[in-house]
């Protein structure tokens, strides 16, 4: 029953989402291309995080949440044709607040790999080193792999969470306002990281920060009250928005 996820382009068709009686997403249709950074922007409560959490089915954990429509990654319908844990292996997620587990740096990164049955010390060592290098943390952390991850700074914790997500070789990385709890320098580091990572993974990022969207994303979707108002190349959205709501939002007139 469970199909393997091969490619990383996402197509969202007629998606409606309800929290009990409240409709949080209305008829969303969008195509997210592989190996690019796609940003979701919009005011609080517009549904951007909700849509993001549909992509790896984290919404399943919320009681009373109902999703209609289809979401395909490659040619796999993620709500019908793939086992949920398998899906989450292919689609990693980074949260708003850094959430390293209360374990050592090493165990945090190895956690995902161990889920998929990798037990051999040498393999785990290799994964830890590779992902830490990938997330540009190897130099900082190589001498403290055995220390608790909770002793790291907020920015380091967040990059560790990115490394942790990368350790299982995801096709797509979902980022839910990953820098909103961080200082500007840490934010800058994570943005750089995004630019590098898109060579290997597709990134979908929710952000409140419009400058951030312009800096790092290729595509941008603007959400308002559960509707996808406008979606297109980032440059076009910010320089020549088609919809009046988009223009009012990006020029800071509401939100």
């Amino acid at each position: 029953m469970s199909k393997a996820i091969q490619s990383a382009n996402v197509s969202i068709k007629d998606v409606n989402l309800f929290y009990s009686d409240f409709q949080a997403l209305k008829d969303i249709n969008m195509e997210i291309p592989a190996n690019q950074v796609t940003a979701f922007i919009g005011p609080s409560g517009c549904g951007k995080s909700t849509l993001l959490r549909c992509l790896n089915r984290m919404n399943d954990l919320i009681e009373g949440c109902k999703v209609e429509g289809t979401i395909k990654v490659g040619d796999v319908d993620i709500y019908r044709e793939v086992e949920v844990n398998e899906l989450r292996r292919s689609i990693g997620m980074v949260f708003q607040k850094p959430n390293p587990f209360p374990m050592s740096v090493y165990d945090n990164i190895a956690y995902g790999a161990r889920i998929y049955g990798i037990r051999k010390r040498s393999e785990l060592d290799e994964i830890v080193e590779r992902t830490l290098k990938q997330s540009a943390m190897w130099e900082e952390l190589k001498d403290r792999l055995r220390k608790s991850a909770l002793g790291l700074s907020g920015g380091q914790q967040q990059r560790l969470c990115i490394a942790r997500a990368l350790a299982v070789d995801p096709k797509i990385l979902l980022m839910d306002e990953p820098t909103s709890a961080l200082d500007p320098i840490s934010t800058g580091k994570i943005e750089e990281l995004c630019a590098e990572l898109k060579q290997t993974v597709t990134i979908v990022i929710v952000t409140h920060n419009m400058q951030q969207a312009t800096r790092i994303s290729d595509k941008t979707g603007f959400f308002l009250l559960g509707d996808l108002v406008e979606y297109g190349d980032t440059e076009q959205i910010f320089e020549a928005p088609r919809m009046p709501e988009t223009e009012r939002y990006i020029t800071g007139r509401f939100g």
Binding site: N56, M58, L61, E63, N85, E86, L87, R88, R89, G92, M93, F95, K97, N99, P100, F101, P102, M103, Y111, G112, R114, I115, Y116, K147, S148, L150, G151, L152, C161, R164, A165, V168
Partner: protein, 583 residues
């Protein structure tokens, strides 16, 4: 796996049902014979052991005096222990200087494990003679003394649980209040404490349950005449004390009537639970409707004027209560240690008991050890699995969960002497295990289950959801998330729960007197031989009055064990916390 956890969780429900069945089957005959009305509202308790079921009764079986006695004692204990405990908790959580907070909290946790027999012993040897100076009959026994002894006894429970509840209130509430210009006291009393109310209430439930169901401490200081408590210093009797006093020799109608008293106690506990449920539900709806309350302007001005001074006054009360708690509890510990330690000798600790030999506690130590091991081996897995089921595997509002939760609440409220009655009827007689270590252990297992479930669940609740999300987002299954991320994070809390439960086992005596044995005997040779636990032995020595020095020594050893357990738990918790929280 859900099924496995579910089965463990169902265990509590089954236990409640079986307890009810066995108590009522044994108790109803007496109620029927005496007549329910005459039993509940009769004012004379003069049981006659020649009474058998197919003949006319010669004795009188009216328990109203004991019902009144129990209610008075509980109210007194709540007045003393509830109030002081609540205020002490606020002090510890919000007013205590950082430096002594750790030590004081530790002391309180330690004292939560003090066996109730020790409180009774202290009341009997120290407070009673002291109060006797002021009374006409020269004895301090009575409602007043019982209230104080029970009050001090429930203090640690109330303090430590209320403190946890208050500390669990998010700092943001406090900061929000301060940002609006509230003083520290106003923020604490108007925002933080009300926000922690449900946990404080839960601690009071436990306190009431303990006071109402307490047997040993009461039987030692109440005086035990089966009459109405007519004055603060008049001898009276409670339901629990009646059972433990008369169980040893009761037969037929008399025996059945003791089970009937057990049923009455059980019903009381159910009523207490029900009332508290209603109260807490009302509180919740109140909280939503509070803004709508109309206060006339002049009154509002008055409130505003006295609010700050009132806060200062309440703060003063907290300091006073904390001082009382510390002095009372530390006093008891010191008193027992000073009088007991000099009498601990090598022979006393190591000699086995032979008929006619002097007092020795080696057999009791062995019996207590076995009791702990057996009950923990059974209760820990079931308890933790139940907590996991309730918190990780079920959705809120699930009917089954509600049933399980109520069952656990009932179990935690069932008086320990009622467990004793049940254990005797079920394990000793029905399962044919006799008066033995295994019977006592199984009885105690059911008793400590709610302690483990509750505290484990608290620990699980304290694990941030972001850990779970992080794990799921990596594609981990629920089972892996629970075992690799949630349980390790909750481990310090669970360990504390287990230690708390061990303390309970060590200190319990009422459920063991008639299931495991109550007199000095040789060391147990196995699980099927009878054994007298340390706490029961202390009760025995105190009652005999012959071996007072040895009684002190036994009390001191009990205390040292509890202290040792506590230090061990602190050490473990600290170590684990260091491992999990940085640097």
């Amino acid at each position: 796996m859900t099924v496995v956890f579910g089965i463990a969780a169902a265990f509590s429900v089954v236990a409640v049902i079986v307890i009810c069945i066995f108590l009522f089957v044994r108790g109803i005959p007496a109620m029927a014979k005496v007549g329910l009305f005459d039993f509940l509202f009769g004012v004379d308790w003069r049981p006659n052991n020649n009474d058998v079921f197919d003949q006319a009764l010669e004795g009188m079986y009216g328990i109203l005096p004991m019902i009144v006695g129990t209610l008075c004692a509980t109210a007194g204990a709540l007045l003393v222990g509830g109030t002081i405990g609540y205020l002490t908790a606020i002090f510890l959580a919000k007013f205590c200087p950082k430096k002594i907070k750790g030590i004081l909290s530790q002391v309180v946790n330690l004292l939560a494990g003090i066996p109730s027999v020790i409180f009774g012993f202290f009341g009997m040897r120290v407070l009673s003679p002291f109060l006797g100076i002021f009374t006409s009959n020269g004895s301090g026994s009575g409602i007043f003394l019982v209230s104080i002894v029970l009050g001090i006894m429930i203090l640690p429970t109330v303090v430590s649980l209320s403190k946890n509840a208050i500390e669990a209130v998010p700092d943001a509430y406090y900061e929000g209040a301060r940002a609006l210009g509230a003083s520290h006291e106003q923020a604490v009393f108007k925002v933080v404490v009300p926000a922690g109310r449900s946990g404080v209430l839960a601690s009071l439930i436990l306190g009431v349950g303990r006071a109402m169901g307490e047997t040993m401490a009461v039987v030692m200081v109440a005086g035990n005449s089966p009459v109405f408590p007519t004055g603060l210093f008049r001898s009276f009797c409670t339901l629990t004390a009646t059972i433990v006093k008369e169980m040893g020799y009761a037969e037929d109608v008399h025996l059945s009537s003791l089970f009937a008293i057990g049923c009455v106690l059980l019903v009381f506990v159910l009523i207490v639970n029900l009332i508290l449920h209603m109260v807490s539900r009302e509180k919740k709806s109140n909280r939503n409707g509070r803004q709508g309350r109309l206060v006339p302007d002049w009154l509002r001005g008055f409130y505003a004027k006295i609010d700050r001074p009132l806060g200062k006054f309440k703060k003063g009360c907290c300091y006073g209560a904390a001082a009382f708690s510390t002095v009372a509890l530390a006093g008891i510990v010191l008193f027992v240690m000073i009088n007991g330690i000099p009498h601990i000798t090598w022979d006393f600790l190591t000699n086995n008991y032979t008929y006619g030999s002097g007092p020795t506690i080696m057999p009791a130590l062995a019996a207590t050890g076995l009791l702990i091991v057996v009950s923990m081996v059974i209760a820990i897995p079931i308890g933790i699995a139940t907590a996991i089921y309730l918190h990780e595997y079920t959705k809120r509002g699930n009917k089954l969960v509600k049933v399980i939760r109520s069952a656990i609440e009932v179990l935690s409220g069932v008086p320990s002497i009622v467990y004793g009655l049940f254990g005797m009827a079920f394990f000793c007689t029905f399962m044919n295990l006799g008066t033995s270590i295994i019977s006592g252990s199984l009885t105690v297992t059911i008793m400590i289950l709610p302690v483990i479930v509750r505290s484990t669940e608290e620990a699980l609740i304290a694990v941030p959801d972001s850990y779970r999300e992080g794990s799921y987002a990596l594609g981990a299954t629920k089972l892996r998330t629970v075992f690799k991320v949630v349980l390790p994070s909750a481990l310090p809390g669970i360990l504390a729960a287990v230690i708390l439960a061990i303390g309970r086992v060590v200190s319990e005596s009422a459920p063991l007197v008639y299931t495991m044995g109550a007199s000095p005997r040789p060391a147990p040779s196995g699980l099927s031989s009878p054994g007298t636990s340390l706490a029961v032995l202390l009760y025995y020595y105190t009652g005999e009055g012959l071996y007072l020095d040895q009684a002190y020594a036994t009390a001191a050893i009990l205390m040292i064990i509890v202290l040792g357990l506590n230090l061990l738990s602190t050490f473990l918790v600290k170590k684990l916390q260091r491992r999990t929280t940085g640097a």
